[in-house]
Amino acid sequence: MNGYDVVIVGAGPAGMACASEACSAGLSTLVLDEQPRPGGQIFRDIEVSDRKRRALLGKDYGEGARIAGAFRASGAEYVPGAVVWNIDSAKRIDYSAGGRSHSVEAKSLVVATGAIERPTPMPGWTLPGVTTVGAVQILFKTSGIVFEDVVLVGSGPLLWLAATQLIAAGSPPKAIVETVPKARYREAARHFGKALPAWRYLAKGFAMMRAVKKAGVPVHRDATDIAIEGETVAAAVTFAAGGRRQRIETAHVALHQGVVPNQQITRLLNCQHRFDESQRAFLPVVDESFETSVPGVFVAGDGAGIGGAKSAEMRGRLVAMRIAEKAGRPAGEAAKLRAEIAKDAAVRPLLEALYAPSADILSPADTTMVCRCEEITAGQIREAVALGAPGPNQVKSFLRAGMGPCQGRMCGLAVSEIIAAAKGETPSTTDYYRIRPPLKPLLLSELAGLGAEEPREAAE
């Protein structure tokens, strides 16, 4: 079995930067990533995106080319299209690539699997034509696809960024339906002073809102009771705003309520987690170098708490420096990098206060489907609690919620929130699904062939 000083899962900004830094410290480094090309979701297809598309996606997207370039030049071994399906406590990593499973051993493991979008259960959210806002961006980045009638629904910086990018492409969204309650602006204003060191983010935010206004995109603020109508595909979004029920016809609805750490690997490894009230999400407990409660397991980037692409890159480098230091290799100066990470994070309290998930999402109506795979409603989850289920794992056993192919990724956080509310406790007490292998569905034939001696496909 091949062994490496560092194995990094994920080739987004954190993973790429971590790999570059680890290689420059002389550590043998392997990067495993699910996508065919590096960049993660934020810099998706950065290497193949042409000049025009990059211009439309904005300057921050272009930054990805520098990180990816350095990564390609770093000498790190890189396996694209690699789906990690198990990691054990000895840091043996099993992954699927090229139709076969392979195993490697890591002295240090870096989880750089970033974020996923927060589950947004609402009536009609399973209809075809309804996607996440992230999906709209991915379609733009990878294929230059835009929709002339897309309605962006929810809250968060990504909503405004997507709107701005679509406007730049000459295909502005049909409307923005924002769920931020009016009172939130006042609450968030309290964090404004502290956010000033990260003024560039504030400036970008205001610029995005100006661009939306200038383009004449209708913005419906403080929207509640959102539902998507349609028989077999999405046909309209309805909501209450401005004191009345409104309806916008569209075949394309994009939902967003912020992003949350992708916990699958850290949960599988039984790393300690905590519920962060400000981010309204579970985060792995990490030290100042982003090492988890499991020695030698690090989380770089948004997986340790949402900080954005710039922070992810810096955190990736910091993690590599720490691994190099522990291995007795020359490491870069961490103090300065830590200060920069802290400065960059100054904007987070404001964003987290302003764009906290809407009450409707955290507490869906009884009839709203929460687990999309097994079609389990919020009401059924509440009934299971009434029957005595103490938490998400018993709810899962009783109802099959979280047992479908997505393995709970699309419902887990919502299920924990609903149980917590029903029991009158915090999600911190309720906790989360236990995650077991395989991390992604795995062909039985491939599993059966594990360990068969065959050379791995040459890495790029």
Partner: protein, 369 residues
């Protein structure tokens, strides 16, 4: 808080016994652990299995068969009372052999059991490859033969657990969670059980806390020699109905998933939750049913079976603490029928029947030599 009976543990064993006690008219409270409780029930393979159970231990064979016979009524009453289907089916079950050596061993075992119980009452028969294939056309080329038993069946362990909890609740029972029993002390005529969630009192106590029984038993003068035995299960995505009956290591669930487990009779077979064990289970399943190779595994479970030194259950009433009973076993699905409808009435009456004498913990009290 006071009840007629306290059942310590809300897994399949505790829930089935509690439901049975409630049927007997007792006011029952189940004290359960929290969400991360170690639950053998969640890792149960879901067989209601008779064939080969109790080779060399006739009382276990009889107790198992009795449970299988009680299962249809248990399933029907749960469905009627709760509306929850356990997906119970009794099409009979197949055990496959993948080599001539396995086949010979199997034949010998079936012959032994027929000699003890009689072919009619035991009901397992030896099949050659052609006969197996006629019953189950999907078998792979490595299957040399097997055994079939008409008393075998299967059910969803998860829905069974839910139905038992639901049924208990509908009969006035309660389940208190985050209430792991800590101490058991005499309290007037009965006992008091302390937990984080408060103190609970009853005249009857049932220890059904799985591996936790070992420590609880000490509180009430029961020396329970039980140890964990790890087992692992793989579950695939749903597929079309392919398997008409369960087999000892592969079955298709009511939802259409294929479940792959390790052999239930392999007492002493220890597996750890590793990729290599998963790979071994997968490879064996493909030899039995080649079509499964194209399915994807979506989940795996590792669970600990509760094992006594000889692998058979321990049912015991404390001598020093009358009214305190202890139930220790694996196979919580198979035995659910007996636990709910045979054991619970005995506990309600205050004495275990003669048929359970063979399951006393005293069988392990070897004379010093």
């Amino acid at each position: 808080m006071s009840s007629d009976a306290l059942v310590l543990g809300g897994g399949l064993v505790g829930a089935a016994t509690a439901y049975g006690l409630a049927r007997e008219g007792l006011e029952v409270t189940v004290l359960d652990e929290g969400d991360v409780a170690f639950r053998a029930s969640r890792g149960n393979f879901g067989l209601v299995w008779v064939q080969s159970k109790g080779d060399g231990y006739p009382d276990y064979a009889i107790w198992t068969r009795r449970s299988a016979d009680l299962w249809p009524s248990l399933d029907a009453m749960l469905k009627e009372e709760t509306g929850v289907s356990t997906f119970y089916e009794k099409p009979g079950g197949l055990h496959f052999c993948l080599s001539d050596e396995e086949m010979e061993k199997r034949k010998a075992l079936i012959a032994r059991m027929h000699n003890v119980h009689g072919a009619a009452s035991y009901g397992a028969r030896v099949l050659d490859r052609q006969e197996v294939r006629a019953m189950m056309p999907e078998i792979g080329p490595d299957v040399v033969g097997g055994t079939y038993c008409e008393h075998d069946g299967h059910a969803s362990p998860l829905y069974l657990l839910r139905a038992l909890h639901d049924g208990l609740k509908r009969r006035g029972g309660r389940v208190v969670t985050d209430a792991r029993a800590e101490t058991i002390v005499r309290d007037g005529e009965g006992y008091a059980v302390t937990t984080r969630a408060g103190t609970f009192r009853a005249g009857r106590i049932v220890l059904a806390a799985g591996l936790g029984n070992k420590a609880l038993g000490k509180e009430v003068g029961l020396d329970l020699d039980i140890a964990p035995l790890k087992g692992q299960i793989l579950v695939t995505e749903r597929t079309k109905p392919r398997l008409s009956m369960p087999t000892h290591v592969v079955r298709q669930t009511g939802e259409g998933s294929i479940m792959i487990g390790d052999s239930h009779e392999d007492v002493g077979f220890d597996v750890s939750s590793s990729s290599d064990v998963m790979a071994t289970l997968a490879a064996r399943a493909i030899r039995m049913f080649p079509f499964v190779k194209d399915l994807r595994i979506v989940r795996s479970w590792a669970a600990l079976r509760i094992m006594s030194p000889d692998g058979y259950p321990i049912y015991e009433q404390s001598g020093s603490h009358p009214g305190v009973f202890s139930v220790n076993c694996h196979s919580g699905v198979t035995l659910a029928g007996s636990h709910a409808l045979a054991l619970a009435p005995m506990i309600a009456k205050g004495a275990l029947g003669e048929e359970l004498a063979a399951f006393s913990a005293r069988r392990f009290d070897a004379p010093a030599n």
